[in-house]
């Protein structure tokens, strides 16, 4: 137990260094950093457009009021900030790193190779507008609704956002790991990555069949829908249990898969 705790502290210290290095690296090219923020602002506008449309039509999409849909969009934006800030660049570069033989050095470092490979870069420019935009969107819709959420609901909301981000990490890591078996996986990765967009609107807009598919088979709806459903007390005990279990289940499965995959690494380009 003590050894595990020590390992966690060590990895947290290393992660702080990763974060610091990434910041220094990105601030070296300040114009790019600012352009990155501006570009992301335009993407943020497209996400907010969906909420804007629902408000303009005053439509009750899937039984949700326009303000509830806006709160959902805000949550999706926050999750996008977490995903793009911590995971996206790292996962996207895995196929390239494997092909180039960059894992050689990582394998001999006294930290987890999976941690090193999937957490070494922190992106700052993309999350900044998303965090600001997401918080404002949530705050505005929350106050418009006059939502009186209890401590349990808010705790469940925050927990499910964190577990949703963890689920996204595992879910989007799977196609990247196929690079240890298949050389060209760009197309597959692109298709899977685009599944992220299914979180841009509440799952209630889809039919029952698609909802079940997106919850149990390809659990992409769990990422952004479950936190908001917990906040509105729309999450049944069964779904809440699934929301807690599936990120852990997928994380440990991906951990196993990573260990199998790494054995196939042959330092091709090194």
């Amino acid at each position: 137990m003590k050894a595990t705790f020590k390992e966690i502290i060590k990895h947290l210290r290393v992660y702080r260094l990763f974060a610091k290095n990434s910041l220094m690296q990105q601030l070296e090219y300040r114009a790019n950093f600012i352009i990155g923020i501006i570009t992301e602002c335009t993407w943020l506008c497209t996400k907010l457009l969906y909420a804007f449309i629902v408000h303009r039509t005053d439509s009750h999409v899937g039984g949700l009021t326009p303000d509830q849909v806006t709160l959902f969009v805000g949550t999706f934006i926050i999750l996008t900030a977490i995903y793009t800030g911590i995971f996206m660049n790292n996962l996207g570069s895995i196929p390239w790193r494997v092909r180039q033989g960059e894992l050689d050095l990582m394998l001999v470092k006294p930290i987890s190779t999976q941690f090193h490979l999937t957490m070494r870069e922190v992106e700052y420019a993309i999350p900044i507008p998303n965090i600001i935009g997401g918080i404002i969107t949530i705050a505005v819709s929350w106050s418009r609704m006059g939502l009186q959420a209890g401590f349990v609901n808010i705790t469940a909301y925050i927990y499910l956002i964190i577990s949703g981000a963890a689920l996204a990490y595992s879910f989007f890591l799977i196609p990247c790991l196929l690079t240890f078996w298949i050389v060209k996986i760009r197309a597959l990765v692109e298709i899977v990555y685009n599944l992220w967009d299914f979180n841009s609107m509440p799952m209630q807009i889809y039919g029952k069949f698609m909802q079940r598919l997106g919850i149990f088979l390809v659990p992409v709806f769990v990422i952004a829908n479950f936190p908001v459903m917990a906040l509105f007390e729309n999450l049944s005990p069964l779904l809440l249990a699934w929301g807690v279990v599936v990120p852990l289940l997928l994380f440990f499965s991906v951990r196993k898969l990573f260990n199998i995959a790494i054995k196939r690494y042959s330092s091709a380009g090194g």
């Binding site: 090219y29 114009a31 790019n32 352009i35 990155g36 501006i38 570009t39 335009t42 993407w43 506008c45 497209t46 457009l49 969906y50 804007f52 449309i53 629902v54 303009r56 039509t57 005053d58 439509s59 009750h60 999409v61 899937g62 039984g63 760009r186 197309a187 692109e190 298709i191 990555y193 685009n194 599944l195 967009d197 299914f198 841009s200 609107m201 209630q204 807009i205 889809y206 039919g207 698609m210």
Partner: protein, 269 residues
């Protein structure tokens, strides 16, 4: 005749090059298809949850056709060569245009339309399949004549998109790494051209003001023809506006490119 022959060669080579990457393009169409699915379900839910039968001047069938075709149209008019020009400037590859008897605009245009000939043939086939699926499953009807007119005016949209990107590419002479600028410009162009939602959702005033810009003539105008919201002489007016913007952007490109070329230092050439 010789002048035409060299550009035809560029065009043919571009088609051959595109054949190599046709799977990549088809896969990008599949992943882009997710947005279409989201839009389809979103608007079905919005119309289902609204008391009005018509929203922003579109009934349910028209809106579904619009948003589905907007996703397809986005692929039809998409450009990529601004990134190639960025590399050409960084690597000093523009040098060849000083000695080769071929103009840069002509080279880019014929190469672009060569690739697009193949890609857009696939886009048209997939659109036909998609429209058939929508009409048979969601009960949405559409006019074949309007779709034929769309097929005729879409090449003008493609030309506007090409000329816009070509003019924007000149920014590469001032920027070391214009990737972010092009991505931002792409999103803005998509929104302002009506590539995500019809411009009417922004309100009549904004939609009318935007009609003074080239963007709406890339997606919004042709798709409104497709859904039957623009008809008769208004189509002719719209096409005239398209041609006018192609000419204006061509003139702009002839002004800004020589200015940009003065900054070209053939860094690694």
């Amino acid at each position: 005749m010789k002048i035409i022959k060299k550009y035809i060669t560029v065009y043919t080579l571009a088609i051959q090059g595109a054949m190599e990457y046709k799977t990549d393009f088809l896969i990008s169409l599949v992943s882009g298809g997710f947005t279409i699915i989201i839009q389809f379900f979103l608007w079905t839910a919005i119309y289902g949850g609204s008391a009005e039968a018509e929203l922003f001047g579109y009934d349910y069938g028209q809106m579904v056709i619009y948003v589905v075709m907007a996703g397809i149209m986005g692929k039809y008019v998409s450009t990529w060569f601004e990134y190639e020009i960025m590399e050409d400037i960084m690597e000093g590859n523009l040098n060849r245009f000083f000695v080769q008897p071929i103009g840069h605009l002509g080279f880019r245009a014929f190469g672009f339309f060569g690739v697009k000939t193949l890609e857009n043939s696939m886009v048209i086939i997939i659109s036909a399949i998609l429209l058939w699926v929508i009409s048979s499953t969601a009960g949405v009807t559409f006019s074949l004549i309007n779709l034929l007119i769309l097929l005729l005016i879409a090449p003008f949209s493609l030309m506007i998109s090409f000329m816009l990107s070509y003019c924007l590419s000149v920014a590469n002479f001032w920027l070391t790494w214009g990737w972010g600028v092009f991505n931002g410009a792409r999103v803005i162009t998509t929104i302002l051209s009506g590539g995500i939602f019809p411009l009417a959702v922004f309100g009549d005033r904004i939609a009318s003001a935007l009609m003074f810009l080239p963007f709406p003539y890339i997606v919004y105008f042709p798709l409104n023809v497709a859904v039957g919201n623009i008809a008769g002489l208004d189509i002719l007016f719209g096409v005239s506006m398209q041609i006018m913007w192609i000419v204006i952007l061509f003139i702009v490109s002839q002004i800004v490119w020589p200015i940009g070329m003065k900054r070209y230092i053939a860094a690694r050439g």
